[in-house]
Symmetry: D2
Amino acid sequence: MAVRVGILGATGAVGQRFIQLLDDHPTFELAALTASESSAGKRYDEAAKWRVNTPIPDDVAAMEVGSTDPADVPDDIDLLFSSLPSSVAAEVEPAFLEAGYVVSSNSSNDRMAPDVPLTIPEINPGHLDLIEVQRDERGWDGALVKNPNCSTITMVPTLAALDRFGLERVDVTTLQAVSGAGYDGVTSMEIIDNAIPHIGGEDEKMETESRKLLGSFDGAEVALHDAEVNASCNRIPTLDGHLESVFADLADDASPEDVAAAMREYPGVDLPSAPEQLIHVFEDEFRPQPRLDRDRGDGMQISAGGIQSTEHGVKYNCLAHNTIRGAAGASVLNGELLAQEGWI
Amino acid sequence: MAVRVGILGATGAVGQRFIQLLDDHPTFELAALTASESSAGKRYDEAAKWRVNTPIPDDVAAMEVGSTDPADVPDDIDLLFSSLPSSVAAEVEPAFLEAGYVVSSNSSNDRMAPDVPLTIPEINPGHLDLIEVQRDERGWDGALVKNPNCSTITMVPTLAALDRFGLERVDVTTLQAVSGAGYDGVTSMEIIDNAIPHIGGEDEKMETESRKLLGSFDGAEVALHDAEVNASCNRIPTLDGHLESVFADLADDASPEDVAAAMREYPGVDLPSAPEQLIHVFEDEFRPQPRLDRDRGDGMQISAGGIQSTEHGVKYNCLAHNTIRGAAGASVLNGELLAQEGWI
Amino acid sequence: MAVRVGILGATGAVGQRFIQLLDDHPTFELAALTASESSAGKRYDEAAKWRVNTPIPDDVAAMEVGSTDPADVPDDIDLLFSSLPSSVAAEVEPAFLEAGYVVSSNSSNDRMAPDVPLTIPEINPGHLDLIEVQRDERGWDGALVKNPNCSTITMVPTLAALDRFGLERVDVTTLQAVSGAGYDGVTSMEIIDNAIPHIGGEDEKMETESRKLLGSFDGAEVALHDAEVNASCNRIPTLDGHLESVFADLADDASPEDVAAAMREYPGVDLPSAPEQLIHVFEDEFRPQPRLDRDRGDGMQISAGGIQSTEHGVKYNCLAHNTIRGAAGASVLNGELLAQEGWI
Amino acid sequence: MAVRVGILGATGAVGQRFIQLLDDHPTFELAALTASESSAGKRYDEAAKWRVNTPIPDDVAAMEVGSTDPADVPDDIDLLFSSLPSSVAAEVEPAFLEAGYVVSSNSSNDRMAPDVPLTIPEINPGHLDLIEVQRDERGWDGALVKNPNCSTITMVPTLAALDRFGLERVDVTTLQAVSGAGYDGVTSMEIIDNAIPHIGGEDEKMETESRKLLGSFDGAEVALHDAEVNASCNRIPTLDGHLESVFADLADDASPEDVAAAMREYPGVDLPSAPEQLIHVFEDEFRPQPRLDRDRGDGMQISAGGIQSTEHGVKYNCLAHNTIRGAAGASVLNGELLAQEGWI
């Protein structure tokens, strides 16, 4: 039986990706769209300025957009995806949770809250049980699950694979695509023939979220992984696909071949939107490249390459599609995990 | 009295920058141009496809291009700048040295040779005395001085400033402009909406050259600095200006303010092409940016910014104009040092 | 029954597009690949530097590449697609035609030859009968059909639609993507933050090919359409998709609505690679845009928009994917027409 | 004696260009800066987000910004430059004129008003006498002069040169840089790997302003030139410099050489910011290019190239720096003409 899903903030860039990804989804049926008050009551194709490179699905185009308010969302919606701006989400998500909705959210608020699971299904599915702690603490009937930031999710699967050799320290520098800032986030005058050496709050997100994702959960709380993580985030003139350069210190000896094998063998999950293989490792040291490789596995596979030894471990590059694996696809995958695990 | 200078490989991209930088030089007078056999005998403006954004100086346009052969270069030339491809330079430079010429070379061959000074005037001017070792070893009357690779020179001044706090380790990731590969080096299909996570040989250049530049010279040989240097070099869709993200481990405690002060106070040199201040440190964490900051100090100043503490030291960004400070300007500056120190 | 097809020049950019388009083709079975001597004898995945954004089909990867010589191509190949450089094609194509092969060629040589059909299936399918003239004149058993240049094919369907109002004059300016020049055709230093106001030979191709395509065929020869066509071709920093701005003078009155209707209603053809509708007309005056619209109809549909009246007719914009509808897809479509019309 | 000048709207992109161009101006002394209420009272370097690639002049950095109100501007200011948004300018400029100020304005409002001179000093300096009509009609003590839109000014000097051959019709297509839309006008997601075939209101500006600039003035009113002008304006991923492709019909015979000579010989003016030669004509058909040629004559020279015959006249390309010759520099030049002609 189909899971009826809705999208909070359906007209924005990530909202449009949700619609694209949910089109022809095997088990999710899109049944509710919300946006800001100015869009409420309009047909979706009138409310949204559609910018994705596939047409709006006909049935979605004709749907009426509701306001982002629990009273305006049908009761029979089983799962809500949220791509609201974090300041809005911080206000609105609790109302939906009190009203009993299950929310898989891409918004950055509350990712590090002790009782909110921050999950990547292939990495830490067990953290989902934090929902029980959450319900106890907050008295909610609903459930809130977060996926990490796009720059974090690009790197963490490779770190999880490395952790079998004792991950001790990570120095990571990102080369991030402009779509990560939203459609209007980076002006052309800022970025053509240029690069920007800072993205507000992004270093901290990578440094904290990655340690929570790799942390251990004892049924009550998540202990952060004790590796040191230092991040330096940059914006470059690329549309989609975050490329990251990682220096990882390891406790144990591991040759580049060992590391490549660990990445390739890292297990995937059996969920509709998951790629067959989580991490594709290139032999060609000139790969992965954003434009050529961001669409691997329909944008859900992580790519890695250029693995070489350093004195204390290895250096390598990794890449993921920031608005699919790094945003809308991450939330959908968490939603699929919620369904599989019986939370909805 | 004017120093008469020549350019080996005058028609290429770096050769054109040499001509631009030598126009109106206070002490150097451009008196010889060489290129490959196919260009020899032509007027310069017929031999070169001029692509710099200032016009060819009239007197240079009318100069006759010679072949890159000592027999074809006037004896009264005091100093030669070389921007030959390294494979050509490896064959040709020795011939000029045997013939007694002093050569300030940007070509990458022989940079790590024990008897070849690799210098940045502000960093290790004393290494120039390796010329005596060189003359002893090779029996040359001339002298060969090299400047480092563009990606190395962007970072090393900041590391030199940090070394007062005991530099122990560097993990550096570069975001390099396409001009570093030469005019035809990167096709538009390769780089528009993309980034390339590897530049052949570039990691190794940064890892070795930086340690030679920061090394100590005892009059006989240069001992490499014992810091660990790990580099990961990337190409991005920017025309000029290499941006680099550095994680530096330090033996001593140093706050971001200490580090900023050390950079700002790092002494410059009194040479015609040297910037007044070697390193400009931005308070604005969104700077330096390639397009906005590469032309500081006529392209000869290093910029830094975003200095923050890490567990073992600091992280920060630095930037330089790769074809001025990182190539032609570096050779000219070394030439000015050779003149000041009495080697020509 | 499957038509067995081969590709002459299979390793280049257009050759790779042929392979991509022929993968899963309903009636064409790829059975031969040729390339230059240096590639002959290798597996395809070793001979080609694959740069298309979908993986090489497994069966193609393992195929052996032959030399571009009739003796090296199996006799049972029914149809050859050619994407050879025009200088090579001018030498090699006649040899294949003498040997009896049917060739659908994208190469620019001989497009204006009086006995060579230059066709777009939706525009002038009847010109195919020039093959009989061709066989008479040249004594070939084979047949040679050409498709027009990418910039021509973008515009001609819209002109064909306009011709019901009496096309008298066309002033067209193109904004062409870099892929039109081949993978290495435009360097990044040439085009980032820039545009180039000339493409060698391109103005003439548009000015002559369009008049042949729109010309009338009396069974013996094609009379060029008598409209005046003036073209000015420019290269811009876009990867794929040629955008063109057209001023068309018309003998009859035609409102923008009339023109839009004529374009929308212009009939398509029933061939596997043809789009359902030949020309999509946007109401939104900010469309078509290369990145958003080049993939319409799997890259085979023409887009138009911004139709407005002028004193003597109309102005409007049009767009097509230059390496699909404008190159490999055009040849495949001509091949499908050859098959449908019984020439193979 | 110095002319004391002020800038209305000094913090925006064009305002910053004014400051850059007025630095070290031989006769203009910058003495007043205005901006919106939120900036009034602040130091300029605190009010403006400086994005020009030369540093803020020290004396300007410390100036206090006033509000854009006649009461807040010193009486002894002789000339005001305006780069206000046109909606603001439409309200504010009349107040300054009533208060007796002379305003050289880049804002688009009122450019086609019958009593407002729209001038390019090299083209139609005599139109300045419309100021007398203006004063009669409006009862102002001040004077308002406009310069044309950046896309218009790029083309009109070449048309003025052609008019000796009887200009009858112009079909022009533009390839415009993103800076023409202001710093935040075009997002990176809109324009990377893309082009936009429409700029709101721009076609009409080119079609009307060009005919006023080339029109005749009989002392009472300007009669529009009777040539037909059709424009199609496009945005491309270039930072600065508008490239335009022109098809011009001429009444008289004129070879490409005649046309080139007419452009080269078109007289300049003797004003401080005027280039020595108004139009540079390239022989190289691959020029002009935005990045290589926009800075000719300190951004004030027009470039042309690619002149070829058509059936009814000629086609060619032209280029100008859109924020210098096309905006701030155009207003400064008009200010210099006002001073020379004794209007201030």
